[in-house]
Symmetry: D2
Subunit: 342 residues, 4 copies
């Protein structure tokens, strides 16, 4: 079986496993105060054009999301996101578990717009019964979105402007950041300039596990390690996170590995398109959502894993093919060959 079911089905990039083995005899202080975390933060900050950014390393994505949101909001404040936003749709109410409402907006291909955000902000601003509703204070978007789509730099700037206009924080969930950077016109420096906080995903981009959380807004920095610890997100052997992000960022491995995954995804996308197979969304990243009939699914599922997303109509289903840093050109070629035969 060749796995296109997701981008977290293999352990880690060989360079990480090698570095881990090479370093195994060393010992370090605990809880993320160590030379590896320091180095990793420095390597990441080279891309940010934001020397004052705080960079923390957390274990997982859900954890990073609710820890950051809980730290940013006061009890009566809420987060705003697309109906398909991961915090709303797939995190078991983790944000609400910390006490905060999520206000959802209908999305288009996983994305929301500056105008929608402004409308939420304006509704609160003019509300005559403000104390009866929550204050929308943080906008959550993902880059890429859950459907693999991307915000353009212009769209992000507009969202930033709407957030600023209404005093909202902008938080970007970058669980798949590497794939987004490879495909769009946005850089990490843009993220640092436009978002108040964002994550750079490791788990889905070559690491064993781990998310880097970048905080650029000074108001959100103080005592952030207390939030990490309180939410169970502080790894005892924190240097394991630092080491991984150091390996990923010191020579651009993070970008290269994700770029290859996106290129292979584009080849696969082209093969589906050539075959006349429709797409659920037009995704420029490593996740491709295509609509297959049952005969086509049967033809492919013997040799490849891929993920059902939803039923489209009688006999047809939207499924996801996902490349990753671990996908090889040979694997992609095999799939492309079989798509041609559908």
């Amino acid at each position: 079986m060749i796995r296109f079911n997701n981008d977290y089905n293999r352990a880690a990039h060989p360079a990480i496993l090698q570095a881990l083995a090479a370093d195994a005899q060393q010992s370090y202080g605990g809880y993320g105060v160590d030379s590896w975390c320091e180095k990793a933060a420095d390597e990441i900050k080279k891309y940010l054009s934001c020397p004052d950014a705080a960079v923390h390393f957390l274990v997982g994505g859900t954890q990073a999301n609710f820890t950051a949101i809980d730290a940013a909001l006061r009890p009566y404040q809420s987060a705003v996101c697309a109906e398909t936003g991961h915090i709303h749709a797939h995190e078991t109410g983790a944000v609400e578990h910390t006490g905060h409402k999520i206000i959802t907006l209908p999305g288009h291909e996983g994305k929301i717009t500056a105008a929608q955000i402004a409308a939420v902000g304006e509704a609160y601003r003019v509300s005559p019964i403000r104390e009866h509703i929550t204050q929308p204070k943080l906008v959550y978007i993902s880059f890429p979105t859950e459907y693999g789509t991307l915000y353009s730099l212009g769209e992000l700037a507009d969202i930033r402007a709407a957030c600023s206009e209404y005093g909202m924080y902008l938080f970007v969930d970058g669980a798949r950041m590497g794939y987004g950077l490879a495909a769009g016109d946005v850089t990490l420096a843009d993220m640092a300039r436009l978002a108040d906080m964002f994550t750079i995903g490791g788990t889905k981009c070559g690491a064993l596990f781990g998310e880097a959380l970048v905080i650029t807004n000074s108001a959100l920095k103080p005592d952030f390690r207390s939030f990490i610890k309180q939410n169970g997100a502080m790894l005892a052997k924190g240097w394991l996170l630092g080491l991984q992000f150091s390996v990923l960022f010191e020579n651009g491995l993070y970008f290269d590995a994700c770029r290859q995954a996106v290129e292979l995804a584009m080849d696969i996308k082209a093969a589906f398109a050539a075959r006349g197979i429709p797409f659920f969304v037009d995704s420029p990243t490593n996740q491709q959502f295509v609509i297959l009939d049952h005969r086509q699914i049967e033809a492919l599922e013997g040799r490849y894993t891929f993920e059902p997303d939803h039923d489209v109509d009688d006999g047809r289903m939207c499924v996801r093919f996902c490349t990753s840093w671990a996908t090889t050109p040979e694997e992609a070629d095999a799939l492309i060959g079989d798509i041609g035969k559908l």
Copy 2:
């Protein structure tokens, strides 16, 4: 000014103020363990055909809602309600503040259906990623709804069946219960039979303040007073609540006072209809939502208070006229007269 803006703009029914004055020299034990609360519970239970029901008295509606929901749910479980549901739309995220997600359903005139509830239950039941989403465990409906509409007995029975099918609790917010009972085909005994918990609102139905919470499901009864205290909902001088509900229920005053309010509302509704003024919803209870143009609003707002609900289009607005236990036939007649002149 004659007030039709809401049903909580006057202190309390004279019978309550008299009883309070007459009882002022008595002293009682605290926190709702007293003869008045006992009597009030007994009076209410006469209408329930459910001798084992637990009846508690809480101060306010938001408080009663989140205390009951918090008590019923475990952390990963969520409440289901209409988008217009009071807990979702007007309680400042109080339910989320206790840690629980609210799953919203598009409503029709403030109501949701058994089929919608079953769909939510079924989606969870068949979900292959159940641990990534919350368990829908409690259905919240209001009777009457925020738009004054009512569930029929048949609709309620269907909702109960859907809840039972999927292991969900049914919680009915009866902040305006009296008006609903006066207008529909549902009795308190029906409520006790069909709901796991429901409130009988005092604040909007003749009391100074106070909501009676009725719990019929044995699983939800133990230690409920601990939840009341923890949530700040236990009045030190609890007998003040017991006294009020005793006065309201011992001779059916609750039902009579609300019935008159509904009758006057029906007269007002007929006057609007006779004048050809459109309704936003067809409400059989004390809240009437009508669509007026600015000239009409101007004509009425000098003498009557009423509440803006939302803009309909250029020059027209949906506004609410609300009668209450305190509305007099003379006040209604005055309004009816002026409606006729619009």
Copy 3:
């Protein structure tokens, strides 16, 4: 039976009931935005020498405590209080229910000292593992304490200084504020100058119910009504609270009624002392904790109610006699007479 069991066993001061009856035909806007609440705030502010203070009216004491503390603290911050502090000992974990740890200090007669507070602050300041512990950010004291004792003005000033030194808020629970003001050397203006927030209790000092929450620290004022609503502490008919506090404060009734209760308590205290009966604490306020043997308890319990506090040793028990705004000189005299016969 003559009741000395607590200070919330009678409805309300006659002046309040009269004002309520006189006003019953009036109607008001909801949720505490009304002329009575405005007037009550103004009357209270006359005593504060702090024109910018925010004054809110909440229904109950537990509610006021956790709402204020939840509003003041970020998630990793904790409250500090005596082991006997009401929020720790008698509120069913309400503060923890909002997510915050309480750090307890051993008290002396219900009181804690500036030195203890400073020690807690210093321990955090110098901690090398600060992110593994909570930040002590708010000091909770009660005035009078749960044992009826009082902080002197000097002690309060020292506590304020310790709080300021370590960046902590000072919150004073004044559920029995009136009795404390009558007995000690502290004024409401002192409270406003020294505390960041404090309550002025109505429930135990002549009102049917209600606590005034005074906020003097500007950082704690914004959007406070949102916290009130979210925590279920916003009374729909908010003017009922404003009316009561207006009556209590416009002619000094609050102070007079509580002063009489303290004077009667001092007479009772003198009677116990004259009879050689030991005190558990030396309380200058309306709560007197005396140690009685079973024979003495039996002799009194036929005619008076009083509250058991704890067993002292074989055959002896500490019990509380509590006067209130409703206690008459005749009731006190009766008790004094019977104490003389013990």
Copy 4:
């Protein structure tokens, strides 16, 4: 520098790193539903004599503690532990952050007794104001304790009996379980028989990271994965946890590695004792707390790392020497030699 500062200063046992490298080309399903987790659970259950136990793998200790406690308690229920308990002293209020109070008991060398627990249970049982206090529902102990001490099998059985008597759950934090099993008379089968839930620590016992949570009480098993996900404790690449615990348990490596650490600790302990150096507690496990003067500290700190615990008096400090699965006999011998020269 030779590190005795803690037992989590080195990556992982070589066998784990080898297994990880050997498995790196494999791919797996996500979120802990994979063959490695299944195998690891099976290997652990061989030691439990409890075929129905549920075994889950979480990333960290704080996370495992608050997730388990949050899942077990309803909002008004509290956890009971020693003042030195990790959840109270070193987890940034994580348990309170989930809404639950912790009731602390004075401990002796980190331990609490069945009698203390029974007293807490009894106090609640007989309380006349039960709804004003939290229900003590879960007892938290650590094995070994934070001071390296152990409960004997008899003590554990007594604690279990007290918990059963008062309807409390027993939760054992086994972050250092391996060291405890090596030193005391308790087996994993005893734990499974006596505790409702317990953890088997990986992080401090040879793994890169990870805690196995064993649930034996059927009431606590349903939907536990929902709690794991909601609390951010579900590793995307869950098989990394399963693989590690499989390696640790399939041939008893977990027990062997920890036993050696304890043996070396006993040699070091003997060396301190021979030199007449006093111990803060008499610990039979891998943590040794000794009282050194500044000259002795200076003599050792050039070559060894160890951790300050607290100041004892002028010139003397209690410090911790900690061996681990990674400590070599040569490292221990070096320290022993230098202790002899103090």
